[in-house]
Symmetry: none
Amino acid sequence: MGGGRCMRYDFSKFFKETIKNEGGKIILCVLDGLGGIPSEKYEGKTELEFARTPNLDKLAKISSKGLHIPVEYGVTPGSGPSHLALFGYDPIENVIKRGVMEAMGIGILPERDEIFARGNFAKAILYENRIKVVDRRAGRLSTEKNKELCELINRNVSEIDGVKIKFFTVKEHRVCVSFLGEGLSDEIEDTDPQKDNEFLRESKPYGEPTFGKQKLSRVVNELSSLIFDILKGEESAQCILLRGFSKVPNIQSFEEKWKMKALAIASYPMYRGIARILGMDIAELKDGTLQEQITVLKSNFKKYDFFYLHFKKTDSAGEDGDFLAKVKAIEEFDSVIDDILELNPEVLAITGDHSTPSELAYHSFHPVPILIHSRSSFKDYGGRFTERDCANGSLGIIYATAIMPILLANAGRLEKFGA
Amino acid sequence: MGGGRCMRYDFSKFFKETIKNEGGKIILCVLDGLGGIPSEKYEGKTELEFARTPNLDKLAKISSKGLHIPVEYGVTPGSGPSHLALFGYDPIENVIKRGVMEAMGIGILPERDEIFARGNFAKAILYENRIKVVDRRAGRLSTEKNKELCELINRNVSEIDGVKIKFFTVKEHRVCVSFLGEGLSDEIEDTDPQKDNEFLRESKPYGEPTFGKQKLSRVVNELSSLIFDILKGEESAQCILLRGFSKVPNIQSFEEKWKMKALAIASYPMYRGIARILGMDIAELKDGTLQEQITVLKSNFKKYDFFYLHFKKTDSAGEDGDFLAKVKAIEEFDSVIDDILELNPEVLAITGDHSTPSELAYHSFHPVPILIHSRSSFKDYGGRFTERDCANGSLGIIYATAIMPILLANAGRLEKFGA
């Protein structure tokens, strides 16, 4: 069929040749969960409307404004898809699996092709020479005990058949396990029986068996036995149940895609992880305050073409349903605008990855305000940086995947298309 | 790949059966490079906002307004893609190659399947029985001499092996050569060695040799020898270097696509050429003033269904970075609105092919204002015909390829789709 590319899709597939190797610097500030909906309790205003934001107000006048649809109309996105879309990747074709997202959530910076599984410490006994699970959560053992057991395992098993293995504590009985080896496939079955008083399952390839599936399932099954052996003297847990094997996707790097060297300035592990998967450099942060982020932005400004600055507080407050805390977070961000503008970037864009209205206290499907400021951007003059004023802005309502092309255009990084 | 038709693409593929053979007349006025961005020097206004346009103001009130994206978000289009999109052709699937655009630029109205090459007159000697290029630009010989040599060649070579050949002077050492014959392919190598003191190259098929490639390369190589023979008594140049063979694309005609007989009223060669490729009739113009264009529009009004009126001055002023000249061009166009309305067309649409903000002094990626007036169009009542008011108009922000279907709908040229 005639097929339809449209800007929910991948700009770089069709306009690759127009992307230049040079041009201005771009700063993209992502205020997590930025968008809101009006609250009757607060004069029928959204958090952005209620906030006092003198600096954003000034900037909004000389910028173009709009709303973006992170993934698709009606879709409430998780952080993975919404960030991929912001960075110009089709969020439906490119998927970061849950296991990988969780690994990143506890601070693991994934390697290309690394495979993660989620797991439980469990109580088990030997029954007819097989491992039988008697308590899938090992009585919710303490996080301290979990750490102790992970260390014990890591000391005793670091590699099976050339595959590197590492255990990470998540919380209570929960762990995350990493497998790193060549040519592995994550399409293998769980060992977790999902019920007490069942045998620990043997992992097998899903569907057609391939070398990569067979190898990882063999390693996983050997690991199950080894751990039962290692833990047999322990009282609190005797085995590990694994589920949700997921491989870090092999996504084209941001630098290859957009011809820009990128630095991620994010303090939360999840966002550092996403940036890592796209091959961005990840700035080291100590306390992770916005002030520190700005300092790091300044000290690295010469070294990179693209800066992704992630601010978490707006989302956390939204998730807590705390309207005023979200207002305060927005006002905190407002206070650093001048510091950012002092750097004189060719393009400054401010937006969110999705909406988290405090009225709803969770991620939502609503479009997200965006503001783009550059020498060549349209200047809307009217309006503040709010949902309503952005709905009437000159950018209109766009798919998030259109944002990167527009930023590149503003930075003078796109050649003319055709004669 | 990800699904999703969207109206950047070809309406007539999916709704062909709804297109009627009859309906009202449509006038599409294209003010080249119409869109602008606000200028601080001029009260923070764009050219359209700064211009005094009493007639457009009146018309804008009783029209529907919007902005269009010529090719894609972030993409700065050349005239070829932007016009193809305006006429409802997918600008990515249908490409007019650079060589053809250049030929049209010097006033050649191309035939279907004609092939053009760009070329240089060069100085050459015979060395070991081969033609060796010693000066690729023949000392930038004068345009007069170029004309003289072209005439000499045209007198002596008009056809090789059934392929008609014609030389056109561009400027100084540069020429354009046309090849017209059945079944030729343009996928053949250049004869231009790109460096002095190298042999004139023999043209060969790119990739898999086919009849069409082999035939044209044979003709081109024979032409090289013939010209060296013809020019051997000349002092200023002894050979021709050819590069960038490009065929006029075989695009479905406008009339076949939209079931309307169309007349192009354009004075600049490039736009006449594009209309020609789509099979439109091309109005003869003497001085090419807007006044003359309106006269021609009037005298042909009965004979056609669709009129494409192209106005160049807005783009020229924009490219010159001359804000006030662009304002004046807009005001000039404003002065003919009543003359056009007097014809009482079923549909009058006014837009640009792309933006050329005089602030930037070149083509840009910004959406372009559009206004559509008909008996059945929505009447926005508020607003002038400006970028900002169009951003809030009832048409919204649309892909340029959606314009033709909307014009046809306004002209009563589309059947209901489905029962």
